[in-house]
Amino acid sequence: MSAVTATTPPRASALAMSIRQNRGFYGAILLLALLYLVYNFIHPRGFSTNVFIANTNESVALAFVAMAQAMTVIVGGLDLSVGAVMTLTSCIASELVRGEPWQIVLGCIVSVAAGAGFGLVNGLVIVYGRLQPIIATLATGAVAIGLALLIRPQPGGEVDLDLNWAVTNSIKDLAETYHLFEDGEAAWLQPVAWVPVPLLILVIVTAAVWIPFRRTVTGRTLYAIGSSEGAAYMSGLPINRAKLWAFTLAGFFAGCAGLYLAIQTGSGNADIPQAGAYTLNSIAAVVLGGISLLGGVGTVIGALIGALILRAISFYFRILSIDPLLQPLVEGVVLLAAVSLGAIRTLRVKNRLELFR
């Protein structure tokens, strides 16, 4: 019989394989493209740089929070503190990001580091306290909000205005603000001069942090844990270290969200309902982006796409005079539809036992 097995069947191309294994992710990209194209067709000033800049500005914080959530969902956990950590870092940033240029840079670094540090604490509590992530982060999230209220009992703060302008507009505006590249008039810059800085920030952070991290042994271990923690342990993988990294990076992304929010609004606000809404939306974004809540499946980029989908839906409410009170309802229906679409596959399953695996 072994002679028969020697023939190798033809293999699928890399792209076909990737699409088959990541249907949720590619589906999310299609959905986002569709939603955003239609939006621009309907919008009176559709396909203009200004609309694009405004939209990306509003999406950055949620995108970062969703990426934070993705880190913990991939290991099979759930972080209920991401919104709170974002709020905490935005309050810290509202105190620190001002003054001399070096003070501004230091303030940005301290804010993001505070987020990462808080994530590390989450990880330590979960790994060495042997607590379930969902309950541990419910508690630490409340702690984060408490700290935010201590720092900023009243909304306020004076974040550097130049930075606010530079970071929430196009690359050309950024260059102009800081007198870079001939005040943004350099010929080589022109093809990308229209690109919104918020988009650039998302791309750079993703490319600099996530893409290399995914190819490290620690990054691989995250997926192994989410897929089968017992098997990961038996394979001698560094489980504790990987979990600490997952929660630290979650804190880092939440810190990025908080910093951006502070710069964007120019202030800090220990807004409890806002923190809660961001946490819940981050879970929705993660699911929309094709990440399995059971762990082991999906990428941080998927979460980014999921967050953009949620935001794209909200944009419609502005241009189609629909009552904004209906927004949660519509978002809920879209989420339900997306998840159901993912479940269609199960209708084709002929062996019902496979539904439970």
């Binding site: 019989m1 042994v217 394979s235």
Partner: protein, 517 residues
């Protein structure tokens, strides 16, 4: 040189003891194994085999005693440390991550790296080379583990172990999930490894595998090392006696005379996908009908179809002349058909491991113990007590989690659970897989008792000896069809093997004959 190497033990345990919460798992064990040899470890479940290999592979640590590997004393605290010393284990419970690719899994603990990051191309090539090593070129290294069959996953598991360059490879029931084709491949690979000087510890409940493969055999019983001897030094009967420590007069209960029985379960022209291609079969009241043939010829699908698990089944099924194809397991067990299925995998399909033994026993028959919408305490206690007594399940308290039982006793719980539903038709999917000899014999007796009480039993087994010893009739399946039936004295090993192969090409027949079945 080679003789010298072979004479000195590679791994040696001396005076090793291990207790789990007071219960003895191993006591005062001296044991040694060499490189370039295949060494079988035999024993009932609970004999200490698993603990022995877990100590050697660094999963658990001994309470006392020493472990010496290649002349150096070791105390492994993690599997990775054992792997470093050259001891690698292929575990019975699969250690693969289902959502990662084959290549990711094979190189999971030490992937090839470039500039500190995982080099995916090198990793894929490594996986391809290792898969070719075990003749599994048809597995694409990029596919996800969850998309592979159980047998292929087990092969990936073996490739993963070989990737660690073991000097001593431990195989714990590593062939129990394999199809016949893969079993042959594994036999060849093990032979090649042996000539290359790798040592192997082989744990299997399949006697013919042990006889075919191993050079040395060690018998364990109740946590002690009983005896080690060369292959051929003891007869099968003697080995079995060493394992269970008592004489077995008849391995199988006597069969009743062959009777012409009226069909109770009647199946005709059953079709599903391309796995069942028109199965026709009948089982009479009080009859045990075996399902034979090579693995993967539709036997499992047939049982699942009869139990209502599969969607889109065509054909005709009647029980006692009535009914149709069950729409769901709930439909199959209730109403007129009263079918029970002891599933393939007791840990995922048979039991709710964290729940108590009592809850597991009652879970299929709440309708029998309820009082209106409530579960009647007195009735359920009685039902649980009856079930435990009938199958002689060895337990401390019925409220303990079912996971605390040994494999054989867990299987008894699965069977007892279905007996409480008072089934008329019992479907058994390889019920003795991975359980000890003593419990196996109890199950054989139980099957005969049930048949004597007019239950119709359809029994799939991968072990020919069981089919021969237990069944009144055996239907042999090939490619989703029943090709031959034997009854009474016509059920012989030669007949079964021949029937499973006669219709295949002559070349295949020769290949099969080379492997002792």
């Amino acid at each position: 040189m080679l003789d010298e190497e072979a004479a000195r033990p590679f791994a040696e345990l001396s005076g090793v003891s291990k207790f789990f919460s007071g219960a003895r798992a191993l006591e005062g064990v001296d044991f040694a194994c060499r490189q370039g040899s295949i060494h079988a470890i035999l024993g009932e479940n609970g004999a200490g085999k698993s603990t022995l290999i877990k100590i050697m592979a660094g999963v658990v640590q001994p309470d006392s005693g020493t472990l010496t590997v290649a002349g150096t004393q070791h105390r492994f605290s993690r599997p990775a440390e054992a792997a470093k010393a050259g001891i690698v284990c292929v575990f019975q419970e699969l250690s693969l991550m289902p959502d990662l690719s084959v290549a990711d899994n094979i190189s999971i603990s030490d992937p090839p790296r470039r500039f500190g990051l995982i080099d995916r191309r090198a990793q894929r090539e490594r996986a391809e080379a290792l898969l070719a090593r075990i003749h599994c070129e048809d597995v694409d290294p990029r596919s996800l583990i969850r998309d592979l069959s159980l047998s292929r996953r087990q092969m990936v598991e073996i490739a993963k172990a070989l990737g660690k360059n073991p000097k001593l490879l431990i195989l714990d029931e590593a062939t129990s999930a394999l199809t016949s084709r893969d079993v042959d491949t594994v036999y060849n690979v093990l032979g090649e490894l042996k000539t290359e000087g790798t040592g192997m510890l082989f744990i299997s409940h399949r006697m013919h595998e042990v006889e075919a493969l191993c050079d040395t055999l060690s018998v364990f019983r109740n946590g002690r090392h009983i005896e080690t001897f060369d292959k051929g030094a003891r007869t099968q009967d003697e080995i079995v006696k060493l394992m269970i420590g008592r004489d077995i007069v008849h391995q199988f209960p006597p069969k009743p005379p062959v009777l012409a029985r009226k069909p109770h379960l009647a199946v005709s022209d059953l079709k599903w996908e391309n796995r069942l291609n028109g199965v026709s079969l009948s089982v009479g009241k009080g009859e045990i009908v075996g399902l034979g043939g090579l693995d993967g010829q539709g036997q499992k699908e047939l049982l699942l179809a009869l139990f209502g698990v599969l969607r889109g089944v065509e054909g005709k099924v009647t029980v006692g002349g009535e009914g149709g194809i069950p729409a769901s397991p709930a439909d199959a067990k209730g109403g007129r058909s009263r079918i029970a299925l002891v599933p393939e995998d007791r840990k995922t399909e048979g039991l709710m491991l964290p729940m108590s033994i009592a809850d597991n026993l009652l879970v299929a028959s709440f309708d029998k113990v309820r009082q209106g919408p409530f579960i009647d305490q007195a009735k359920s206690r009685q039902a649980v007590a009856d079930a435990i007594a009938q199958l002689q399940i060895k337990l401390n308290r019925p409220d303990d989690p079912v996971a605390s039982l040994s494999g054989g006793n867990q299987q008894k719980v699965v069977i007892a659970k279905w007996l409480l539903t008072q089934p008329e038709v019992m479907l058994l999917n390889d019920p003795t897989r991975g359980i000890d000899v003593g419990t196996k014999q109890e199950l054989y007796r139980l099957m005969r008792e049930l048949a004597d009480k007019d239950t119709a039993i359809l029994f799939y087994s991968t072990d020919y000896a069981e089919l021969i010893g237990c069944c009144d009739r055996v239907a042999v399946m090939y490619d989703g069809r029943i090709v031959t039936e034997f009854s009474g004295a016509a059920i012989t090993e030669e007949a079964l093997v021949a029937a499973a192969l006669n219709i295949t090409r002559p070349a295949d027949t020769q290949a099969r004959e080379a492997v002792p079945a």
